[in-house]
Amino acid sequence: MPPTTLHTEVNGDAALVARAQSGDPNAFEELIGRYERKVFRLARNITNNEHDAEDVLQETFLKAYSHLDGFQGNSKFYTWLVRIAVNEALMKLRKRKSDKTVSMDEGIDTGEETMVREIAVWDDDPEQRYSQEELKAILQDAVQNLRPAFRTVFVLRDIEELSTEETARLLDLSIPAVKSRLLRARLQLRERLTRLFKRKGDDVFAYM
């Protein structure tokens, strides 16, 4: 048997989608098994709320199931699924607009914060100090502390690895806005992780 390549991975999806489209329920369940963890993570990262995340997870797969016939196969199945999930998650986020922490765009594309305060080198392999579960909790906590406007961009670009153009389209932002929010999100996360991961006694403060 030839070694598994990315190519056959994607074909694996295409074959499953085709089987699901022709009414095989096991095929759709297998697609859920492949992607539910990623969809749930995306939903949790964007909504910042477990309950909303579960709703998003359900709505995403139910919508995908109802619209499966409309899936053309000219994009990857997962990309198609992510688009549905992002739209569902953003709807949830906007519904919580009354919540002050959820402002999506208020005054964030103006002003020149450099956002660099902690200058310290990290320990070698600081991740090794933590268990996998602890590390996941640290990273999730760091993302959830970003403002929604930065968080959504970071999640789509750096966790889901969507393109700048796709992110701009999904969030209805200009490309420069995506880039500037991404930079600030990255730098804020860098600050936070540096506080945990820095080598002791290595602080340098004054900068810029």
């Binding site: 993570r41 579960e54 359900q58 199931y65 310290a120 900068y207």
Partner: protein, 85 residues
Amino acid sequence: MSLLTCKDFLHALNEYLDETQDAELRQEVEKHVNECPNCWVVFDTTRKTLKVFKGMEPQVIPPEVHGRLMERLQKKMAQRQKPAP
């Protein structure tokens, strides 16, 4: 001498991390961090920040969350398979 100021460097860093194909910009970033120790630290720790995030596998979904998803889906599937009246 690097042509970038430390502030320019931050913006260029973003493009650099996105693997811009602009060779000149990549060179400028590398030049700047070789000359500026503080920016080297920012460069290195930002790169590592992204690396830890990208290396993270999604958490296992709680079984009850998976269970409720499958329950709703099975209802939907049953509806779909019902013959038209």
